[in-house]
């Protein structure tokens, strides 16, 4: 592979690293923050399951991003990923919670504007509607699961120590599921823009298993996410989690599970096949924000508890991030493409 190709992929890897550093905290933050699960255990489980989810089930959400704008030249993909990563980094620096999904969508629209390609309004509407639905669905799931857990704990009369053991195991299982869903849903953000200009080719492993170029690309992205988890997520895990509302370990488990279900719903091609084959309406496969799903889930629990103790200011800043992130990413991408084309003489679209 040419060195330039590797160079162009680095922006995607950087975005993957940023995603691992930030979003692993949504899955394992409270578990590690409350010392229910060791960081090393969380990091290993998270990396392995992100990788599995990305390679096995990452194609669905990627397809939707592709419809929004198929970036057809590698330098263009490079700039879109770099713009998204920069937007994520900038938002992090000012302390606003950020979504890589929103950043990459903003960047793709930036590329569309620059290259004069039309933005598929149906795909865009679908994505925007999903973003609204994602936290709402997470809130509904978490409220229902939380109610059920309160009932269960009241009736099961388990010993405090036994409850602790079950909660630990539950947090690990929900974390693994959450990581799988995160990989499946969010790998599209990291590597989706490189798919139309994918430099990898398919290869067969002893004529039995085909490892597609897309899967190789996703594997690379997933490794970048894993590196982000190991190198930077501990700090985020220890500070995030109690920001919006202090959670007990069981409530944290409910939040992680609800978040994971939502991410899974918006990424599972298997579920889509089952629904469509039974004539039921399908759930769009769209990259959604893991952070917003968790916020929705925590809010669901808070509302069931009577709405006390919610930090509305934090919620306000989250909503602000929702609007600002895609706009910043779009702007950076547009300006970056201009420089890449006119200063560095690169073909950013075909």
């Amino acid at each position: 592979m040419e060195n330039t190709v590797l160079l162009f992929l680095t922006s995607g890897l950087f975005l993957g690293w940023a995603l691992g550093a930030n979003d692993a905290a949504n899955v394992f933050g409270t578990a590690v923050g409350t010392r229910m699960v060791r960081f090393s255990t969380a990091a290993i489980i998270c990396s392995v399951f992100v990788l599995l989810g990305a390679v096995a089930s990452g194609a669905g959400a990627t397809e939707t991003l592709g419809k929004l704008g198929a970036i057809n030249a590698l330098p263009g993909s490079f700039m879109a990923a770099l713009a998204a990563a920069s937007a994520v980094h900038m938002m992090n620096r000012v302390g606003l919670p950020v979504s890589t999904s929103q950043a990459i969508v903003g960047a793709i629209i930036g590329w569309n504007l620059f290259s004069g390609m039309p933005t598929d309004s149906a795909a865009l509407t679908k994505i925007l509607a999903t973003w609204v639905m994602c936290p709402i669905l997470a809130a509904v799931f978490s409220a229902l699961i939380y109610k059920f857990m309160v009932w269960l704990i009241r009736h099961a009369k388990l010993h405090l120590l036994r409850t602790d053991t079950y909660t630990r195991i539950g947090l690990i299982l929900a974390g693994a599921f959450g990581s799988y869903s995160l990989g499946a849903n969010n790998i599209a953000n990291v590597m989706g823009v490189f798919v139309p200009a994918n430099p990898f080719t398919d290869f067969n492993i002893s004529h039995v298993l085909t490892f597609t170029g897309g899967q190789q690309l996703f594997l690379l992205g997933a490794i970048a996410i894993g590196v982000g988890v190991f190198t930077y997520s501990k700090r985020v895990m220890l500070t995030v989690g109690n920001d919006l509302l202090p959670l007990s370990p069981i409530a944290a488990w409910v939040a992680v599970l609800s978040h994971s279900i939502v991410l899974f719903l918006f990424a599972s091609q298997g579920l889509e096949t089952i629904l469509s084959s039974n004539g039921l309406p399908t759930i769009p496969l769209v990259p959604v924000s893991s952070s917003q799903a968790v916020v929705g889930a925590v809010l669901g629990i808070a509302l069931v508890k009577g709405g006390r103790g919610i930090q509305w200011r934090v919620l306000g800043s989250i909503s602000l991030g929702w609007v600002v992130t895609p706009i910043i990413a779009c702007g950076i991408c547009f300006v970056g493409l201009y420089f890449l084309q006119n200063v560095f003489d690169q073909t950013v679209f075909n």
């Binding site: 229910m36 009369k157 010993h159 405090l160």
Partner: protein, 220 residues
Amino acid sequence: MKLSKDVRLFHRTKDLEIQIDKFLDALSESALVFKHAVGVYLTDGCTDEFTEKHQHVDRLESAADDLRRDIEIQLYTQTLIPESRGDVLGLLENLDNIINLIEGVLWSFEIEKPQIPDNCKDGYRNLVAMSCEAVEAVVLASRAFFRNIEAVGDHNHKVIFFETEADKVSTRLKRDIFESELGLGHKMHLRGFVENIDDIADWSEDVADRLAIYVIKRTV
């Protein structure tokens, strides 16, 4: 390997549950033996039977100390219940202090051999009974804290009731003592015993108050 680790985790949890139960058994048993021992002292004085009961409480106190230390070490070395272990530690240490108070009263009876006038004996019996009821109720409240958190409030209510009763009995008893014809030294000696026995009920109430806060903290 992960599975065997989980099985071990369940096994260790079970062991610890048993140890906590044994600790609470020791406290409950020491209150029952204490009640019996004071009854023997009030009827027959400092007899062999009284000494034997006192030694029984001593053994329970040592066993409870060992159990408490072991539980605390396990909770911290295995990082179990990270959210509640500070509360559990506080609970166990305060419960342990109740056994220490019981043991202290029995030592005072054995060493100081107070002369209790006949008209005060029923008062002492009542005071011991109320204090022991308070201990029994706080043991039940503590068991509920581990297994059935919603029942803690019911048991706490009883602790408060028995503590109030113990206070009433002790006030009456002190009044009786100081209105009698006994010498001042004797009166003060008897008063010390009333206060020490009443302390057992007071301390039980303090533990119940702590439990009430722990329950709020543990609400899911």
